[in-house]
Symmetry: C2
Subunit: 295 residues, 2 copies
Amino acid sequence: MIRTPFSLLAASLLATSAPTADPVTPGMIVERAPTADWAPVAPEDLLLIDLAGGGQVAIALAPEFAPVHVANIRTIARAGWYDGLAIDRVQDDYVTQWGDADGHKPSPPGIVAHPAAEYDRAAAGLTPVPLPYRDSYAPATGFVGAFPVAADGDRAWMTHCYGIVGVGRDMAPDTGNGQELYAVIGHAPRALDRNVALVGRVVAGMELLSALPRGSGALGFYADPKQRVAIARVRIAADLPPAERPAYQWLRPESASFAAWVKLRANRDDAFFRHPAGAVDLCNALPPVRPAPRS
Amino acid sequence: MIRTPFSLLAASLLATSAPTADPVTPGMIVERAPTADWAPVAPEDLLLIDLAGGGQVAIALAPEFAPVHVANIRTIARAGWYDGLAIDRVQDDYVTQWGDADGHKPSPPGIVAHPAAEYDRAAAGLTPVPLPYRDSYAPATGFVGAFPVAADGDRAWMTHCYGIVGVGRDMAPDTGNGQELYAVIGHAPRALDRNVALVGRVVAGMELLSALPRGSGALGFYADPKQRVAIARVRIAADLPPAERPAYQWLRPESASFAAWVKLRANRDDAFFRHPAGAVDLCNALPPVRPAPRS
């Protein structure tokens, strides 16, 4: 039996045409979503990390979940404080982390040095689009904008999922101040939910964080400082001239396209699948993101 | 506020000593588990993949879940058929896949060319150690040996989790025959459960699969064949002289150590945590594995 690469598991994440009789795939729904179903990441909420070796990581910030920490991050970026720092920790199936690896740099001025814990917030004021499936960790889950959210009673919080960005910190009650950040690169470590301030989601350049060599030191820190991955500069997109700003969009969870996409993610009926799951996990249903089409 | 790297998120996956007052961490439970709580991967079930560029990936095979597919894999390995093939697909947050990238190699003799679908099996005869938390995809989950398992009524199946290995295939009813394999390198794609024959779990060398550059072609295939990662040889450990065999162990899910570890994974009470999750997801509780200690 000879297989061509394209046929192997092809239908499991079909994003383009393939030689099947599939009526509709999740990828096709995203491709066909009308312009109105996409929402823009605000330039003020778009953090751009340029690696010294090339490539840019773009993070959509989430002030609705951690306003003080996000404000700190904007201030730190605008002070140029992140420039010249490095990725110093890559722990397999867990996180990639960056910041002031040696801890020698004085804190930037103008930040809230000791923010209150923004690990969860009042559910009131958020209107999540619910995900109607069981979750291992919370009684209710759903989406607010591009972000996954869980709720219990009158509290709600962003959850750890692949690509979600959080604030490194010391032991409680310290909450970190945004000088050290990490992104999830493995199966969602949901036990960290409500224990860390989550501040955003990687919307582009994820592979620049996830495909790095794993650190051989304890907790995945690079044992040799030479292994660190240098960060050239970090900016807020709003500070670039409009014509030079990268721009990203997410598929609105309130849209009909997203509803159809989630339903199909949970109930695949194309030629590859014999047994639709009948459900989809929160972190397997993050609202799709894309670069904004050029107008 | 100055942070040293070790203090950042340190307690979240403490595997070694750290300057905290934590009474017990999950890592400490694993460290202290008595010898009797560890079970060996049988040499006949240990697939060893040597990459041409160096490094070895070790996979514990699971004949209890897919006996015909696993027998095929042993036969293919013993024929030397995998030798000289390559990793040709790395799709971010999904899978790393290897096999006969160009599909030019005649199938090895002695295999079952068209195995029946071993996507699930009778629950009878398996005695999973149950995980007492909700799961998004199945009414019941737990562990059999080193493997995650889900069950519904009288059927049971291994589940996709980080590091789980499956058999690439074409469209149903084809089930693949073991010539193409993949490993999960992202958030568990559980929608594939019961749609693919799962045959094992990576027990060492995972970073050799997860940290590879992502493919830029459709579905993460390497667009340029030069990007492929060559496989030097693939062997079954039982075929090596006993003194030369790598050996791995898993923490028995039936053991008191594992029970204590799972409980603590779900209810962290060390200094870092303010809000224990009260639960742990199946794929966040895979039985720990390690190289067998030298006796």
